[in-house]
């Protein structure tokens, strides 16, 4: 039952990423929280989602691009994190990052399938009903893809995380530090995208100082 629920959640969130709406409930931060909530551990799910969100800040759902699929990756990671111990957390994030790459490849596959699903005017006249059926059919295939990718990912990631996390030797702070090294790259890339350090140094540093002061007050 739980796998079915996760699978349906993965299918719906995969749709949101590109095919339907793009309200961004598919972003890791939201997907992780929703998965955690579904499994009765919203804070752990949110923490996993926050780390993956940091990694995938520079991954945009542009139509033609190839990108790691954050939605299914986050469901898989948040479902695999289990007790949320340091080792389980690190391994779940790693599993999510790996699975996101694979899920991204299935999006490429889907787009090739869609090219065959969508009728070609060059091969004969097309009616509105035929176009509608093909378009909604493609949406249904995307949902099924997201659901299958999620359930297979969870089935593989859970034993992987459980099997390797018990003797994890690093403390929680060190584990978090290790994970944040990769996420820091995204921060650097974003600053470059926003205009570069020279151009944005003043506002970037102002934000940093404000946050430190704010955190002390809170």
């Amino acid at each position: 039952m739980e796998l079915l629920q996760l699978s349906l959640l993965g299918g719906v969130l995969a749709l949101d990423a590109t095919s339907v709406g793009q309200f961004m409930v598919s972003r890791p931060l939201v997907a992780g929280a929703l998965t955690g909530w579904l499994l009765g551990a919203p804070e752990t799910g949110l923490a996993v989602g926050a780390i993956l969100e940091l990694y995938l800040l520079v991954s945009f759902p542009t139509g033609g691009s190839r990108f790691p699929e954050g939605a299914t990756a986050s469901v898989v990671a948040a479902a695999a994190v289990g007790d949320g111990s340091a080792g389980a957390f690190a391994l779940a994030v790693a599993a999510g990052l790996l699975w996101g790459q694979f899920a991204g490849e299935t999006v490429t596959w889907l787009r090739r399938v869609n090219a065959r699903l969508v009728p070609d005017p060059a091969t004969g006249p097309i009616t509105g009903a035929r176009l509608t059926a093909a378009h909604l059919g493609a949406v249904a295939v995307d949902f099924a893809r997201g659901a299958v990718v999620t359930v297979v990912g969870v089935a593989l990631a859970r034993p992987f995380v459980n099997g390797l996390s018990e003797s994890w030797p690093l403390t929680q702070d060190t584990t978090l530090g290790l994970l944040l090294v990769g996420a820091a790259v995204s921060v650097g890339i974003l600053l470059r995208d926003f205009g570069g350090f020279r151009r944005r140094a003043a506002v970037f540093l102002a934000g940093l100082v404000l946050a430190v002061i704010g955190a002390r007050i809170l």
């Binding site: 590109t18 095919s19 709406g21 309200f23 961004m24 931060l29 929280a33 804070e43 926050a50 780390i51 520079v58 945009f60 391994l91 790693a94 869609n114 090219a115 969508v118 070609d120 005017p121 006249p125 009616t127 176009l131 509608t132 378009h135 949406v139 995307d142 390797l164 996390s165 003797s167 994890w168 030797p169 690093l170 929680q172 702070d173 978090l176 944040l180 090294v181 990769g182 820091a184 921060v187 650097g188 890339i189 974003l190 600053l191 470059r192 995208d193 926003f194 205009g195 570069g196 944005r200 506002v203 970037f204 934000g207 940093l208 100082v209 404000l210 946050a211 430190v212 704010g214 955190a215």
Partner: protein, 252 residues
Amino acid sequence: MTGSLSRATLLSTFARSFLIQGSWNYRTMLGSGFAFAMLPAINRLFPDEATRREALHRHMELFNAHPYMTNLALGASIELESEGADADTVRRFKMAVRGPLGSLGDGLVWATWLPGASLLALTLYGVGVPGWVTVLTFLFVYNAGHIGLRVWAFRAGLAEGRAVGGRLTRADLGGWTERLQGVASLLLGALVGGTLLGGEGLGFVTPLWIAIAGVAGLAGLLIGHRTWRPAAATVVAAVVLIAVLSTLGWLG
């Protein structure tokens, strides 16, 4: 001219625009989704079977742009079809706008608004704001811009038709992107400060890891997007290696 179309028809087209990428493919890209969104208007504007089919076929041709900004082309195409523009005019118009709508939308939404909304939520989380508040804040802020842009683009297209380029220039989306990138940079600094120096949401991190993360951030800043995959792969490999070695009893 779109006065010949009912409000319900226009609303139906607008609602369908949320599914415009539903059959995105490498042959027509957004083309089939564009025609799917245009269907309610096409059915009303072309009661004759043959002309309706021709209209459907021309809107199924290759098209690509940012999905939200595509609403501008959608509205303008409805206006063009309503005023009886010939097929070549409609085709040329769509071909002319797809590049600008793609680059303006990608810069404004994907490269600025989306990461900006994420950074706001992550910063709040980093300084200890409750998780559900950060998630709801992200969804509210992002979608205020998202839905607002879709509505504006559709209405601008309907109002201006083929002259929509002037409206696009006056809207100064490039300038908005520039200003929002400044705000996003502030949030980026706040995220770094909140997470690494003073936050509770992600825990405290030791100075050694802050230094290593600083070097990683510098690599991202200097090299750009090419650093992302190697960095993510290195972290994944390190985590798996540590876990395997410790499981085998080779690490303390």
